[in-house]
Amino acid sequence: MYRQLFFARSKLLNININGRSQILCLSSLQSEWSKLATKQLKKIPLDSLNVITHEGIKLKPLYTSEDVKGKEEIPGAYPYTRGPYPTMYAQRPWTIRQYAGFSTVEESNRFYRANLAAGQQGLSVAFDLATHRGYDSDNERVSGDVGMAGVAIDTVEDMKQLFDSIPLANISVSMTMNGAVLPVLAMYVVVAEEQGAKQDQLTGTIQNDILKEFMVRNTYIYPPEPSMRIIADIFRYTSKHMPHFNSISISGYHMQEAGATAALELAYTIADGLEYCRTGIKAGLNIDDFAPRLSFFWGIGMDFYMEIAKLRAARRLWANLMKEYFSPKKAQSMMLRCHCQTSGWSLTAQDPYNNIIRTTLEALSAVFGGTQSLHTNSFDEALALPSVQSARIARNTQIILQEETGIPKVIDPWAGSYMMESLTDEIYSKARELINEVEQMGGMAKAIIAGVPKLKIEECAAKRQAMIDDGKETIVGVNKYKLEKEEVIQVLQIDNQQVRQQQIEKIKKVKQQRNQSKVDQCLENLREIARDTSASGNLFQASIEASRARCTLGEISQALEDVFSRHLADSRFVSGAYRKAFNQGKNNDELQQVIDRVEKFAKIDGRRPRILVAKIGQDGHDRGAKVIASAFSDLGFDVDIGPLFATPSEVALQAIDADVHIVGISTLGAGHKTLVPELIKKLNELGRRDIVVTVGGVIPPQDHQQLYDQGVKLIFGPGTRIPEAAMQILDHIEKTFTSTNKSK
């Protein structure tokens, strides 16, 4: 407590000192400009042109050589601010790597092959949520998730079809997999082997970044400790047998999507990286054995300059910290290579063609920042999974940047810009401060268990939402320049039940044909190795053997779950952040109206409106749910929180037990078409047809009518302003719950 106060005070002092020293050493050019600008501005103070970014960095209207402190650098040399390689895109442009996968392996395979033919250079596989969470498609818990947000994989046979006619010895494959990393990577290795490829020929990346799952994305399976052991085992195996394969992709992307500012994303990702290095060393590896195979993954949002500066600062930060902490011998151990993806959160469901422009600008940031590979989002992704057309536009965005603009011809073109160099320095120090905080807590694994990073990110998300809702931040088509009428856009539709049925058939077939005693033996072997706390066996090696014997993904995951247990994070919530940030906490009519109406409702009904905010299915992205929960409680609602990964009947039961007025379902995993109707059915069965069901998240407009017909009262797409949503909800519950009182 005292320490915190002291810290805050010394921070304040620092700012004062900096402010003063800046005034003292204003150069003659700076002061000359100040005079000119002040005259031009007439009565407006010059300071009002400064902008404080989300990161808390002061962005000035003018930078001069005074702002640049660092030494000049070249690309391909420590600390790599200007790029990991000396020639960068001048020699070879970045890899166009589009993340894709949906429904069945056959469909996805066709899609990959067509993309490769159309100029894509590497594959990036999206798995469905059932696979992510280690469930086979025939598991009851995942009935709505199979094949929806990615492709379903249950056995080696599925993986084989996924890469049919795609030679894994030559094509680099990136796989977004964290929770069920053991069976998925193992099946990939077995398929390559059966294709005739050698393990040391394999190139590509596995995401394998479990720390950020605990922080933001929530697609973990086991508790933190055994999860870190799995990573260590993969490091040990790949460093020996798969030297060209990136054994981890340390991801900031999901933090940004969850609401982190650029500085938080940068800091926590690098801190994750340091933790993984310690994990490798603890597993008996030399830092140079595996550090060159660590890669990074950033999200690129709309803050154009900041994102470029972030990538530059990231490389410098990593190089400096690696040198300080681990003194590696190889230069590659300090060299940060990265993949980038344009922000999915910045896409809007409203006037979605604007998303093409957003994605283009974000792609430009990533390229100016010197990324090694890039995914550009499709413009319809705020509505549904990308269609063939939208995927083409997304890919062509990159091809045009590479082949029409001439941009790749010059390496790190922003270097030497007073602004860019200064901004790079600033975000570097901001992030470094945050990393020090984490390190003082004993590293990221400990910080995550204490729950600090998650709360910090969620607080940023709630504040950001308030800034958008009160119009301080513009989002075209959402809170400004809105369309009178939205155009309906054709989106991809997946028949999830059919996909699931097919998968179930395939599992049956594999199970009939395999040698069951061999299977049992492999699974028991996995359990044994998991139980052995000295970790002398290797879980990854055992998973490869199990995959060869045709154990399913669900069986391998379950065997480990038997020993490790299935983890459920303790969820904590921020409160007050939304209300404080809305209109900077000043009294505001709109907010006040909602609050008054809540009070009025409470008087009439005898209690506050009570809402259950729930997630159904295996989709763990809970930014939306958290922001809603936090904001609604700030508006005076009593908010019940549903656990992640619930089934429709579990949600129904919770709604009834807590006797809520409203159930608000948040869904991004495309499972709404089966799961929401099931929930309504359950509520009806239990005699509570009166509970108002609303749905929020990514829901294609084509599905709206069907959902309304099934009894959903309100649907909120991405970009809905919270006070408006609250008002509409109040309309409904007033009608349903208080009209009966009046009639008495």
Binding site: S633, L635, D638, P643, L644, A658, G687, R688
Partner: protein
């Protein structure tokens, strides 16, 4: 227009009369239990009247059930208290399932704080007791503290008997923080347990005495791995401290045990201790005497709550309070004189209303 009328007709179907609710409740219908708890928590005048009606019937029914089994208590009410992060929910999650395996039906009542600025709340307890919440023989209800008038105290007591009427025979009442709410909960439960996490020794020094006078069982949580030495230290410290205390009951000596929800150790021991306590109390007759005394306290709490409620509901008094407060703050009159004046006004308002 039509739609609006239609909704009100539809929803009237769901209006539950006290008779319906009562029927559902004693048949163990969860939805009815939930609605009954909502009813007793209501601040709406008419609903409060209904709640009283319902509660009278429920108490009558419970009394009869108790007589049927030769006046043995039909439920065991256990208060579980501890600072935030003490591991209460984690303990209840595992402990509750243990009880269900033993054939009990378990109700868990918890309270989450309401914000003092917005009045709203975030009720996240269920996410922390996930496994238990999936059991069909468990009912978990989290209520917002709602700040004013000690609402928790009054309605928690009501909720306990409602759960019993619905057939739950072990009632776990979780309270957050160590302080005021503990003293209230002690008057509602048969046994009062405090959960302590390792590492909490020093912060608790100040409150230790207050707790020690009330506690029947101290449960040191997170007793696994690296924390074991600290757990043992805490255990001996409390044991010796409790030994020096004057005992609250002649029939029970407070105990200290340690548990780990993670490794599932000590859970059975906790129940053993509680079971032993219950037996000792029933045998000595203290169990029922305590419950009778609690009814008396319950009455008094109602009296206090309702007087305060009436007091604050009057506009004239509200105005008077504001002006007197200002004068007290500025030192123009003493607090006692101001209190006398306000109370005199209250008496006058009361007589005006009755005449």
């Amino acid at each position: 227009m039509f739609a609006q009328r239609f909704t009100s007709i539809v929803s009237r179907r769901y209006v539950s009369t006290v008779v319906d609710l009562y029927k559902g409740l004693i048949n163990g219908d969860r939805g009815c239990l939930a609605k009954c708890i909502t009813l007793v928590e209501s601040t709406h005048k008419e609903k409060q009247q209904n709640a009283k009606e319902l509660l009278s019937q429920v108490l009558q029914e419970l009394k009869q059930r108790q007589q049927k089994q030769s006046n043995k208590p039909i439920s065991f009410r256990i208060g579980l208290s501890g600072s935030p992060g003490a591991g209460k929910s984690t303990f209840i999650n595992v402990f509750g399932r243990f009880l269900i395996q033993q054939g009990h039906k378990v109700a868990v009542l918890t309270v989450d704080p309401s914000s003092s600025t917005s009045g709203g709340s975030i009720l996240g307890d269920k996410t922390r007791m996930l496994d238990l919440s999936r059991e069909s023989d468990a009912y978990i209800r989290t209520s917002p503290s709602a700040g004013t008038l000690g609402g928790v105290t009054r309605t928690t007591n009501d909720a306990i008997v409602l759960c019993e009427a619905a057939g739950y025979n072990v009632i776990l009442v979780e309270t957050v923080g160590v302080g005021q709410s503990e003293f209230a909960v002690v008057d509602m439960v048969d046994m009062f347990c405090v959960l302590l996490p390792p590492g909490s020794g020093d912060e608790l020094q100040g409150m230790k005495k207050g707790i020690m006078e009330l506690v029947d069982l101290v449960i040191v949580t997170k007793a696994d791995g690296e924390l074991m030495p600290e757990v043992r230290r805490l255990q001996t410290e409390w044991l010796s401290a409790l030994r020096l205390m004057r005992r609250r009951s002649p029939n029970w000596k407070p105990k200290v045990i340690s548990v780990s929800a993670r490794t599932n150790t000590g859970i059975d021991k906790s129940w053993e201790q509680m079971f032993e306590f219950e037996n000792a109390m029933i045998k000595s007759g203290e169990f029922m005497t305590k419950r009778s005394n609690q009814l008396q306290k319950w009455m008094w709490n109602n009296v206090k709550d309702r007087i305060l409620e009436q007091f604050l509901a009057d506009d004239d008094i509200q105005k008077a309070i504001q002006s007197y407060e200002q004068r007290v703050i500025r030192g123009l009159i003493t607090p006692f004189v101001a209190a006398d004046a306000i109370l005199a006004l209250f008496a006058k308002v009361k007589t005006d209303k009755t005449t």
